[in-house]
């Protein structure tokens, strides 16, 4: 009775009070989307009175994840040096029989198709996996070879131990190149024909507590269908730019594959999809306002993944409401967009967590330490210079559409080049002619440029790393790329010869 009186007068409540209500079965719990509707219809004051906890959730690919396992000792014992589970290389970060299964490690036999994420899923699913290990052998650990089959029940510990999960929000990706690219943001069609994004927006745990008032070290969470804990800020955590992340741990033996799935991104690699949910205790009206955040208030950048650089061009700012609507506007263009993370499963995470609390199976925990609010995500310190196309490109020898073959042949000889770039009146790229094309023209008796010019030209951008330009040449079996700007104006040419010269230095 005393407690109730306290609540009705005070503008705050404590986690202990909420836990008592959970124990009695009368805590008021809303899933994030329900909370937003309530605050919108009834206001902050009413919502504070009526709601004790708001549950959040997200379900997406989280590459910086993995599981720590302890195998127990074999007889004779082994101090593992190299290990593989189902052909996937496994880290051996500690002593004899502790292994870390990284989500992105790939099987040598099925690269890109089966990896650490799938091993974790198989173990969680109760499947038997095959372990192979090698060691150098010591006096105390004489064994050098090991082959065995295990399920999760044979392991002493099997904990998900993820060093960066639950990104507060993430980029929306497009590709400006002329070719399809395969990235960790999925398959991106050429010339920005599609866009992808990741994240649950208004359902994201960190978006509902952006000042890390209740989420800190020791916060009990939903992780992969089981219970886990926040053990710190995630790597690359930067709360001040809404790029917060979490480091988390949870008992994988109690997880289930509805909320934990191995996955594959073609030509990028394997990963792990994880469901992560956090209950936000509504301790004050400030937290009511924070948990009322809507998709239209959460912004992210449309980023050009066609540029293979650390700082990729940001083309537009969009909000999560637009993202979830299926199309975004970049400049004048409408681009179809779809998610890589599942909103459906994110909702299921939030509603499952709500059910657990309603049934008295999940209690809230106060953080024992706050997460940093002022940490910065710095770029790498590099001590070696990197070469870009601009560093090696040369002036292009060009011709116009109406020149004839003999004039071009002469230019190839006098300038001693193998490639002539065809440009229009504005200096924009319209084709390429090689010395080989001229030889063919001679053999076939052709005299017009239009008969021999190649219209499908592979190009490079000046700020592109030399390595990617070089790869493109090898991939298409060509020896030069005209360098163009965004309006296709020809800036120069980069040839495999110039690149070899640089590498030979």
């Amino acid at each position: 009775m005393e407690e109730e009186a306290l609540n009705s007068h005070n503008k705050t409540r404590t986690i202990e009070e909420i836990n008592q209500k959970i124990r009695k079965g009368d805590a008021q719990v809303l899933a994030a989307e329900e909370m937003k509707r309530l605050v919108e219809s009834s206001g902050v004051e009413v919502a504070f009175k009526e709601v004790d906890v708001v549950t959040t959730g997200t379900f997406g690919a989280m590459c910086s994840s993995g599981a720590i396992i302890n195998l127990g000792h074999s007889d004779p014992p082994i101090k593992i040096d190299n290990a593989w589970i189902n052909g996937v290389p496994i880290c051996h970060p500690g002593a004899a029989v502790d292994l870390y299964i990284g989500a992105t490690a790939m099987s040598a036999a099925q690269p890109y198709e089966y990896g650490g994420g799938h091993v974790i899923e198989d173990l969680v699913n109760g499947k038997e996996v095959e372990l192979k290990a090698q060691a150098y052998g010591t006096d105390c650990y004489p064994r050098t070879q090991l082959n065995t089959r295990l399920t999760k029940n044979d392991l002493n510990q099997f904990y998900l131990l993820n060093f960066r999960n639950c990104y507060q929000h993430y980029n929306c990706a497009v590709n400006s190149r002329d070719e399809t690219i395969y990235t960790y943001m999925g398959k991106l069609l050429p010339r920005m024909k599609n866009a992808t994004y990741s994240g649950a927006g208004e359902l994201n745990p960190l978006m509902n507590d952006p000042d890390y008032e209740t989420i800190g070290i020791g916060t009990r969470i939903f992780l992969g269908g089981g219970q886990g804990y926040v053990i710190g800020e995630g790597t690359q955590h930067e709360a001040c730019s809404q790029n917060g992340t979490l480091m988390v741990r949870g008992d994988a033996k109690k997880m289930n594959t509805e909320f934990l799935r191995g996955a594959t991104f073609t030509r990028y690699g394997t990963t792990l999809y994880i469901g992560l949910g956090i209950p936000i205790p509504i301790l004050n009206e400030g937290l009511v306002k924070k948990t009322a955040i809507r998709d239209e208030e959460i912004f992210t950048n449309v980023v050009d993944y066609g540029v293979p650089r650390r700082d990729r061009p940001k083309l537009a700012k969009v909000n999560y409401k637009e993202l979830k609507s299926g199309s975004v506007t970049v400049g004048e263009r409408k681009i179809r967009v779809s998610s890589l993370s599942s909103l459906k499963t994110a909702r299921k995470v939030a509603s499952t967590l709500k059910d657990w609390i309603d049934r008295g199976e999940f209690f809230l925990s106060a953080p024992v330490e706050r997460l940093p609010l002022d940490s910065k995500f710095k770029p790498m310190k590099q001590t070696e210079a990197t070469s870009f196309v601009a560093n090696v490109m040369q002036a292009a020898v060009t011709c116009t559409e109406n020149e004839d073959v003999s004039a071009i042949a002469k230019r190839i000889v006098t300038k001693s080049v193998n490639h002539i770039v065809v440009v229009d009146e504005q200096g924009k790229l319209s084709g390429i002619v090689t010395s080989w094309d001229l030889t063919r023209a001679l053999a076939e008796g052709k005299t017009g440029l239009t008969d021999i010019v190649s219209r499908r030209v592979f190009t490079a951008k000046p700020d592109e790393p030399l390595e990617t330009a070089s790869k493109r040449m090898a991939q298409h079996k060509i020896s030069a790329l005209p360098v163009i700007d965004n309006s296709r104006k020809v800036l120069g040419i980069v040839t495999s010869e110039d690149i070899s010269k640089l590498m030979g230095k």
Binding site: A263, L340, L343
Partner: protein
């Protein structure tokens, strides 16, 4: 309405420049619906929709003219594996894959172009999308 079946025509370099489809249409006096066509100077691949009861007549007519005819593979979605992420949605050129109100993936087999397109197949992180031979197993498995 007549049931329509899709067949895949493959034209070799030798015959790719001939107006074979027009000839067959005139010969059989039958409308044939071209769904997709991928033709260059070296080869051609055309996905055609024909009335089911005329299937054998049409196939015969094309084969007589040197065209390789086969039943295209269909795209199948394994709902057990699908994680409803949405990676496939924007890759579909005919909007055969859509999201429902509750963000579930819906796959419309009727609209799907089949293996001649396959744009979604390698984009599925759960590897839930496969191309399968027609007539094998039950390919009509619906997500719901």
């Amino acid at each position: 309405m007549n049931t329509l079946t899709r067949i895949l025509l493959k034209f070799s370099e030798k015959i790719v420049e001939q107006p074979i489809i027009s000839k067959v249409i005139l010969e059989l006096k039958m409308p044939l619906n071209i769904i997709t066509a991928n033709i260059n100077s070296k080869s051609g691949e055309v996905l055609l929709e024909v009335p089911e009861e005329e299937l054998n007549t049409v196939i015969k007519a094309f084969r007589k003219k040197g065209v390789t005819v086969s039943l295209p593979k269909l795209i199948e979605v394994d709902c057990e594996k699908c994680i409803n992420c949405g990676s496939c949605v924007t890759l579909c050129p005919v909007e055969a894959i859509t999201l429902t109100e509750d963000s579930s993936i819906i796959f419309d087999k009727e609209k799907c172009l089949g293996s001649t397109c396959s744009a979604c197949v390698d984009a599925c992180p759960a590897r839930a999308i496969k191309s399968v031979k027609q007539g094998s197993a039950d390919v009509s498995a619906k997500p719901h």
